[in-house]
Structure formats: structure tokens, C-alpha cells
Subunit: 429 residues, 2 copies
């Protein structure tokens, strides 16, 4: 499949006008908007790109493409960019061979949006517009599932134009008529004239970037939209994620996900070391580590750098940090006999809570929490355990911590196994 | 797809002749031969069975089928079973509607055999005959990829007839001619007359059961063929499996896999308890537990009762046994300071060796050892750790055990992560 990306606009509201620097090459979350398009569209089957550019910005794109030689991109100039983005589409006609994706270089989509939109048809419509500024957005009015009216000033409308289209070359026949008739041609005019069919993709993150404020806002929203959630406990939802999603936008592009993982790991080790000398301070650093533990995944997803290895490394290092932190507390408390056994069960439990769900995923190839949402109701996820440990450290209740953790974690393991047991027949092939 | 199973033979060599009890209902590894056919063929797309029986055994089959109502089976009588198994095939003609599997009720196949044979064509040929008694087996001589000669007495031959065929209804036209010409008709005569094409499936386990010795031998071989191997270390290969595969045939049908898992778990717990009073004896029981730990999987695979939940439960319980056994040793040794930290790292290591490979499977959906065979070279698998622990317990070297285990297991975790890291680019999609 091909994709046509319109990039001939000059970004006057972003103050790029005079330099000829194109909007598509602005960085959001450490990556050029255009690179996001190339990355995401490639992941979903686009193998060839047609980039319609302004002659004044051509050299900027050439520099960019030389740095990313893995993509097959044809540059097409729009000699009259002032004639509008409809004219830009028209310029791409001879480079297009079959059905194609059409999108805008200054638009930004989360991965799930592209995954769903790519199998659609016509204009991709967002009925909810959850992330949309209604006064700025282009609205669409439908009739019989096709575009009837489109524009920024519609008062009655069915949804928002996401700037993402799945088209066939027939659209150029309509474009030819529209272009022949007037000087300035917006894409909307062609879309309306062609009465494009519509596919709904609602509730997912997309935006366009017009002003410097848009850029900053997009970074924040991209990080928020990237929170996975499935593995998050209560503490994470109401405390950790609020802090980490405020921090991550500043780190996107400055820190790689694996660097964030490593930093967080060393902070965890440091917290264990500090706990040896000062339990309360160590516990506090442990909780800070817990907040930072979310950053690597947020950065990875926001900058499209997720890797399975990164997730694996993060999990393994988390098990080490937990075990080592609790080991230091155990060395301080020096329980004897039964007390030691209970403490050891608490240590084992912190690893096993994760082991059982990971083993489940290995066996069945699906997420345990996604398959059995009831698992959420039993507390004992990592964020919750760490917060509990932090509180107990703060008050110096170390002797009580181990029995509580042992009960919590071993209870969660038992509960999880019972849920798997109940669901086993349903799951076997 | 349909399957025709010939079950009209009377098993005279098994002494079943007088009672009319059919060979297909003999139990091997706790399951009737016929039930194995129904189970395995269903797994690979057969939805309808045609069972050709001797009028004298019909009632036995009816009792059996009433106990297994989940299968669609048509009983067809061969009124003249003495006319041979070729005549039995002929009797099935009106019940067959399209391409079908043909096999014998007294034959036995491991699952992989069926998985491969089912997509073949004509006679399934075993060129190697690894498990075959050459004097007893039916041999096949080919010409241009088709059967030219077939019989027990061929001196020159290309492989063995496995008693498994993928046929089309055209075979009945040949059968009609052969049946019309003579009184006794073997299947081999029809196969030769039809000059069936041949598909090779070699090196996998299959056998037929003629004598009581065959029955016992089949149980042993089925268990041996069921050893997975991928997770086995040196101790398992050269000691544990030799013992467990000698034991498992007696337990098949008497003990369910989950019962075997539970028994082995309690023996593990018992070994930890005993170790508190007598380290050497506890260590010995721990090693016995390690041998029995293989039995559940062997029973499960030999009796076609594998379940993902069973595998999961087995893994989780293994982690508990290891951690608890070592905890008891730790309570006995009562190391202080650094010694305690090292002991704790040994405890963590025993869990993490398994955690990293399970996490890998969860992330990539493939076996770590199968993907990176180099992982086999670093010792530290469960069977090896337990044997080492047993030896150290025997000699009372408990203080030395923890540093050795800590180095071994943490080294293995690091090595495994390094292997994953090196292969990460190759694995990402």
C-alpha cells in the first residue's frame, strides 16, 4: 500500500514561514511528526510513501530522508503551495498506483488509531472528538454514510475530520474537476465533491499541530494516551501515573526507554542502600523509584520505541529491586525462627505475584489481567506493595511489614491460581 | 474430514478371541487404543468416525461409545470378518462421503505423527522404522512414488506401512474389483492394486499391538517418546528421566497428571521438613522429588491429557518447593550479614532462572531454549540445582551451598539476559 503525506504547508502560525522549515519536521516527544507517520504506517502495511512538499522546504526533507534511508519515499513538489492542500493532493496523482492512505504531515495519531483506520474506507471520522478543540476542528455532516458537508464553521455535524483517509485513485478524477474550476482548492472541497464514504474511529488520540502551544500540549497528551493501565494498581492510578505522566514529556527524546529503565533500577538499588542507614528515607526513595518505574514505558510508547526486550528487562530488574530492598529490611530486623520464615515468604511472594501472571501469559499467550479482570480486585500489585512498604518504613513498623506482605502476596498468588483454575476448561483449546 | 477405523479383527494372539473383546478397546497408558484415535484425530480436524466392527464385539463398542458421547461415530458391521481387513474397508463404502483417514484400531501413534500424517496423501510411509520390529512389519516397495509391492515378506523395500492412510472414495472402486475376485481380501492387496501414492512420515513413534508383550512395550515406548527434553539438564537426561520413564508406565491410568503434580509437591514439602531434622535424608528426598517431578508431564503426554494449566501449576509449585527447601537450610545455617545476603541471592536466583525464560515466552510467544539453544550450555537448570543441593546436603556442606547456588543461578540469569539482549533485534517484529 502507498501513503500520500501532504507537507507543503508553511506553518505560518508556528513562525516557520520565513525559514521554509516545514511543520512535518517539528519534533513531538523527541520524534519528527513525519518520522512518526513513516514508522506507524510502515508497521501497518504501507511500503511506499509520496511526500508532497513546498519547493522552499524540499532541502529540509532531503536532509531528513538521508538520515532515515530505510523508507521508500518519493518527493513530489507542489509548485503552487498557495493554491491549497487540495492542489497538493492533485500534485501526487502520477505517483499513485492503487488504493492509498492520505494524511497530513502536521497531524499526529496514536498507534491504535492507525491500526484501526488503516482497514477503513474513505474519510476516517471521529464522532466523539474527545481530544478535539471544537472551534478549531473541521466538522463533517453525513448523508447515507457519505460526506455531505465539511468545514470548520458547520453548526450541525456528525463528527470530526481526522485528516486520515483511505482512498482509491478515482479521487483524482474529482480533484481534476475541482482544480480546473478555481485557483485555491482545499482538500475539504474535493472530499465534499467526491462524497467520500466514512469510517468511524472514535475515542483514540489524534491531533494537529498549528501553534507552539499545540506542540507542548501534544507531548503531554501523547504521554497520557500511552499509559497502558492493565498492570496498574490503585496507587499507580491515583498517584504514580499523575507524577510520571507530568515528568515523561520532558524526558521524551532526551532519554531512551532503556536508559530510563536503567536509571530507575539504580535508584531502586540506591533506595535499598539508603534504607540500611535510614529506613524512612530509603522507603521514600523506594516510592520515588516506583513513580519513575512508569516513565520508561511511557517514553517508549509515546516515542514509538516499545520493545519486548525492554519490557522483559524492566520486569526482571523490578524483581531484583523488590527482593533486594526487602532483603535489606530483613537484615536490619534480623527475625529468628518463624519470623524469618514469614519474612522469607514475603520475599518469595513479591516475586511470585508477577511469576504466576507471566507464566500464564507464556502458557496461554494472553494477558492474565485482560483475560480475568476480577484479578484487579485483589490488591498486591507492585505499586501497592511498594507504597505499603514506604508507609511502614516511614513509621518504622518493620516487624509488622513482613507478615502483612507475606499474607498479601501469598494471598494474591493463591487467588490468581484459583481464578486460573476456574477458567482452565474455558481456556484450553 | 471423516476417519474410517478398522476394528473387526479378533485379537486371537492376545487371547481375546473367545470373549469377542476387541483389540481396539485394550488400554495402553490408561486409555483405550480407540479413545486415543478419537482424541488425536479430533484434534487434527476429523469430525466424523466410521468404525467397522465384528458383530461379536459390537456390544463392547456400544458400551464404550456410550461412555464417550462427545464423538460422532457410525458403527458399521463386517458380517464376514474372516474375509480380512480389506473386506472391512469395503464394508465402510456407503458411510464415506469424501476424502478420509483410514487407520487400524490396534495401531497407536504419538501426537506428532498424526499432526504430520493428516496433511499427507495415500499411504503414510515410515522409511526409518525406528520403533519397528522388521520381521513383523509390513514392508512397502515403491515405484515412481507409488506402492508397487507390499507385504511382510519383501526382502527389498523402501519403508514400512504405518497403517495410516489418507484416501479418497475412489479407493472403493479398486476395492470392489479385488473383493469380487476372491474370498479373503487383505488391505494390502487393495493398496497394491490401487498403486496408492505415498507420503513419508519418519522417525516418529507408532506401533501395532498383537501380543500382550506388545501392550507393555507400547506403554514404555509411549512414555519415552513423550519426554519433552527442552527443559532437561544433564542430571535429568542421565539420571532422572531414566528412573521416571521406568516408573510412569505403571502410573498411567492409575494417577492423573494433576494428582502426580500434587504428590510430587507434597514430597517436596516433606523433604524440606525432613531436612530440618536430618539434612542428608532431606536432601535425598528432595532428589527423589526431582525424579518424580518428571512423572506428571510424562503421564500427561502419554495419556494425551496435557493441559496448559497443569504445566503452569507444576512450574509454580516447583518454585515454592525450591524456595522452601532452601529456606529450611537457611534457617539451619543461620548465616549473618553478608552470608545472609548471599543466601538470599541464592534463594532469589532459584526463582529468577525460571522467571527470565518464562517472561521471555510471555513476551515473544516462543520457548527460550528452543530459540537460543546456546542457553543449554550454562548449567543451573532445576534438575542440576537439586542434584547439587542433594550432594551438598549429603556431605553437610551447607555453608558452601549458598555461595555456589548464588553464583550458579545469578550467573545463569545474567547469561540468559545477555543472550536475549544479543538476539533482541532479530526477534523484534
Amino acid at each position: 500500500m502507498q501513503a500520500v503525506i501532504l507537507a507543503a504547508g508553511l506553518g505560518s502560525r508556528l513562525g516557520l514561514n520565513r525559514t521554509g522549515y516545514p511543520k512535518g519536521l517539528l519534533r513531538v516527544a523527541g520524534r519528527e511528526l513525519l518520522l512518526r507517520h513513516l514508522l506507524l504506517l510502515s508497521r501497518y502495511g504501507v511500503t511506499e510513501f509520496v511526500l508532497v512538499v513546498n519547493p522552499r522546504s524540499r532541502s529540509h526533507f532531503e536532509v531528513f530522508l538521508a538520515r532515515h534511508p530505510g523508507y521508500r519515499v518519493t518527493l513530489v513538489e507542489n509548485p503552487y503551495p498557495e493554491r491549497g492542500n487540495g492542489y497538493s493532493l492533485w500534485c501526487a496523482r502520477s505517483a499513485v498506483k492503487g488504493p492509498f492512505v492520505l494524511t497530513m504531515s502536521d497531524h499526529l495519531y496514536e498507534e491504535k488509531f492507525v491500526a484501526r483506520a488503516i482497514s477503513g474506507r474513505g474519510l476516517i471520522l471521529d464522532r466523539e472528538g474527545r481530544y478535539v478543540e471544537p472551534t478549531e476542528a473541521t466538522k463533517v455532516k453525513l448523508q447515507d454514510g457519505r460526506v455531505r458537508e465539511i468545514g470548520k464553521d458547520l453548526t450541525e455535524f456528525d463528527g470530526f475530520d481526522t485528516g486520515f483517509f483511505i482512498l482509491t485513485p478515482e479521487v483524482f478524477e474529482t480533484a481534476e474537476k475541482v482544480v480546473a474550476g478555481r485557483e485555491e482548492v482545499t482538500l475539504s472541497e474535493i472530499v465534499k465533491e467526491a462524497a467520500l464514504p466514512v469510517t468511524e474511529v472514535s475515542g483514540l488520540y489524534w491531533t494537529d499541530v498549528d501553534t507552539p502551544e499545540d506542540l507542548r500540549r501534544a507531548e503531554r497528551e501523547l504521554v497520557s494516551a500511552s499509559v497502558k493501565g492493565a498492570g496498574d494498581g490503585w496507587v499507580s492510578r491515583y498517584l504514580n501515573r499523575r507524577l510520571s505522566t507530568a515528568l515523561s514529556p520532558y524526558l521524551c527524546g532526551r532519554l531512551s526507554p532503556n536508559q530510563a529503565t536503567t536509571l530507575s533500577f539504580f535508584l531502586g538499588l540506591l533506595s535499598a542502600l539508603v534504607a540500611w542507614f535510614n529506613t524512612a528515607l530509603g522507603g521514600f526513595l523506594y516510592q520515588v523509584h516506583s513513580v519513575l518505574d512508569g516513565v520508561d514505558g511511557e517514553i517508549a510508547r509515546a516515542t514509538l520505541q516499545q520493545s519486548r526486550f525492554g519490557g522483559l528487562l524492566d520486569s526482571v530488574l523490578d524483581r531484583y529491586v523488590d527482593f533486594i530492598f526487602l532483603s535489606v529490611l530483613l537484615l536490619k530486623v534480623r527475625p529468628e525462627g518463624l519470623g524469618l520464615l514469614v519474612a522469607l515468604l514475603a520475599l518469595l511472594g513479591t516475586v511470585m505475584v508477577s511469576y504466576v501472571t507471566e507464566r500464564f501469559k507464556g502458557a496461554y499467550g494472553r494477558e492474565a489481567y485482560g483475560t480475568f479482570p476480577v484479578l484487579h480486585y485483589f490488591p498486591g500489585k507492585r505499586d501497592e506493595r511498594i507504597f505499603l512498604t514506604f508507609i511502614f518504613c516511614l513509621f518504622g513498623w518493620l516487624e509488622t511489614l513482613f507478615p502483612v506482605l507475606a499474607l498479601l502476596t501469598q494471598g494474591k498468588v493463591l487467588f490468581t491460581l484459583a481464578v486460573f483454575w476456574k477458567g482452565r476448561r474455558w481456556l484450553e483449546p
